[in-house]
């Protein structure tokens, strides 16, 4: 136990925890969306995320920004970021659609029991991972240092860097966009309808297949953006990088209340904070243990997550 250290560095730990949590949150959206509509855990989502991290790198290399090149001008950085985000989001989205098409839709057609979806997703996850390993190697692949971290301001003695601001702000922004998409647009209404009552929605003329594909796509897009932020923050990725972050993101989704978009954000940020504070207290070796124990404790008191399942169709 190291309480003094936690107290002394509380602000610093919180800031870094939030940045990490924002990335969890964005990846968690993919789990939450698919779960909301299909009541299934998409185990291949972690590889959808990894797709984005590789797409970012390939984009940067494609436009000639190598890993050790000096940081270009601000305008260039912004343009590059936007481009990379678009490419990463699209490729993650495409892979998510592909996974849905190959590993989910045939099973839905056959009315397979839910567990089978899990196994087919595990299969898809293995295949994607090994394909990346085959084409991009099994070692770390590096991204350029696109944004040099520079302290913008300090809060209670903690340096807040431009990169951390960018990460948290974009994550929250993406959340807001997604949230309003789901609640305002016609397509979003379809998603909500299917998640609340698939049969009734089908009777009302909602194309279920299209809605399901849409949720996979949306989850993929978010994972793609998360991947860009991840690359920015850590600078490297790896064919197997998805497993851990997928696990954490899934934990975050459950923590906030799976199926609940805002819950994913809250869960992600809380998990990031809890991990950092817990690590400060007990040592980094216990990081994942802390995350899971935190989850178990929260679920014991709130069995459907902090915010509950949003579209609240209680299943009796």
């Amino acid at each position: 136990m190291n309480i003094d250290f936690l107290i002394d560095n509380f602000a610093d730990l919180s800031v870094t925890g939030l940045a990490q949590g924002a990335i969890y949150a964005l990846v968690a959206l993919g789990y939450t969306l698919v779960y909301g509509v299909l009541r299934l855990i998409n185990f291949a989502h972690s590889e959808v995320f990894v797709t984005g991290t590789f797409a970012t790198i390939l984009t940067l290399r494609g436009i000639g920004i190598g890993p050790d090149d000096p940081v270009p001008s601000l305008l260039m950085v912004l343009l590059t970021l936007v481009l990379a985000s678009i490419v990463a989001a699209l490729s993650s989205g495409a892979v998510a659609l592909l996974v849905e098409r190959v590993a989910y839709r045939p099973l839905r057609r056959r009315n397979a029991p839910p567990l089978v979806f899990l196994i087919s997703a595990v299969g898809a996850s293995l295949v994607l991972m090994e394909i990346y390993a085959l084409f991009l190697g099994r070692d770390n692949v590096r991204v350029g240092n696109l944004i040099k971290p520079r302290t913008q301001f300090t809060v209670f003695g903690a340096d807040v860097t431009n990169r951390q601001i960018l990460i948290v702000v974009s994550a929250v922004l993406m959340m807001v966009v997604l949230d309003s998409f789901i609640s305002r647009t016609r397509l979003g209404r379809g998603v909500r309808a299917v998640s609340q009552n698939p049969d009734a929605a089908a009777l009302m003329g909602v194309n279920k297949d299209r809605v399901i594909a849409l949720t996979f796509l949306l989850g993929g897009l978010m994972a793609g953006v998360a991947a860009v932020l991840y690359d920015l923050n850590f600078g490297v990725t790896k064919f197997s990088a998805g497993f851990l972050i997928g696990l954490k993101a899934f934990t975050a989704a459950v923590l906030g209340g799976i199926g609940n978009l805002r819950g994913a954000l809250l869960g992600g940020l809380l998990l990031g904070l809890a991990e950092n504070w817990g690590q400060a207290l007990l040592g980094s070796a216990w990081r994942d243990v802390i995350a899971f124990v935190f989850l178990i404790v929260v679920l014991m008191f709130r069995p459907t997550g902090i915010l509950g399942e949003s579209l609240g169709r209680a299943r009796v």
Partner: protein, 431 residues
Amino acid sequence: MTGFVDRLRLADEQRAAFAAWPRRWWAGLPRPVRLGALVAFAAFLVALPILQPPVLTTTGTDFTGVLFTVGVYCLCALGLNIVVGLAGLLDLGYIGFFAVGAYSVAVFGSPQSKLATEYPWLVCIPIAIAISMVSGAILGGPTLRLRGDYLAIVTLGFGEIVRLTAVNSEVLGAAAGIPEVPRPPGERADGTRLFTIVDVTPFYWLVLALIFLVVLAGANLERSRVGRAWVAIREDEDVAQLMGVPTFRFKLWAFAMGAAVGGLSGALFASRQTFINPESFPVQTSLMFLAAVVIGGAGNKFGVVLGAVIVAYLPERLRSIDDGLLVVWYVSLVLGLATYLLLRRRGPRDGPRTYLRLGVVAGILAALPPLLLAMPEVFGSRGEIGQLRYLMFGLALIVMSVFRPQGLIPSRRRAIELEDRAKEVEPGATS
């Protein structure tokens, strides 16, 4: 709407009837023939390490060693089947119990463990089973009130917690692990030890015997009030409780029994390895156990055993691609296609697209081996067959899920199983 549903149901029943014919045929055989066949099959299993049959034998690794691993997977699948298949509780952290069993034997039995109790193997095994059972109950206690998907992530977390605790605890040997795990007692005729590090065959026979016992115990449970309660909970927990099933207690039992079997198999694994460290217990392995259960047919013990054989054996067999494997691949492809076409005819009519798609799939499957064999030329050292086996395994998981979602031997068991029993029961009921 109803018309459509009826058509679907009809098609489903027809398919079920077709799928059930081997079982009918089996049940229709005279009892001595069935018994004889079973004994012959058992003898074949026992003799496998000695026979080393040509195509079955793995060329890239020791066949007997693989057989033992397959056996351990079978045990795990049987244990997990109680939790997932019968009681319907999604447990993604089964490796945790496996690890608890393995570590119990190591910690209590190894002369190099910090505890230095050095209990003999025969004492360690019950301890391992007991500790895993208790750990199952401890995990179940606070979490079994959670609903399915929440339970899934909590159990997944449990698996990681066990592994990380082992990594970070000096008593458990930390990352360095614990060597000199005790081995089962027993001597050969010439006085040398039966269970050695070099010859795995006795271990294989031991695990075979344990599988037999666990299948027997599992069957007993299934055919009792406990089994009915579990299935009732799986089907509809609320109603089960309203019909007088103390659901929480039985769920806890399911967890504890599953954990006990997991612990037992972990203990066996540890004694065969003679050394364990946390690397042997990654949480991903839980997913492999689950894959075994689901691929085989959740709820059916023979199904899950078959699933375990596939999950544990396939990646090992795929270490090298040889002629025997190619022959098997093409023969089973042709047979599979033929069976599929036959089954199709009994279902609702298909459009031309179905056959086109089928042709494409068959073409891809047929072209797979030459593509794989050409890989090294394209990708250099990254494309060696050995490095592709998880890619192939992943593909196999998808293909099996898509084409056989109900599992290889689905759990439509009861209808058939009960047909036999009905004969003896019904007269009894009226007397």
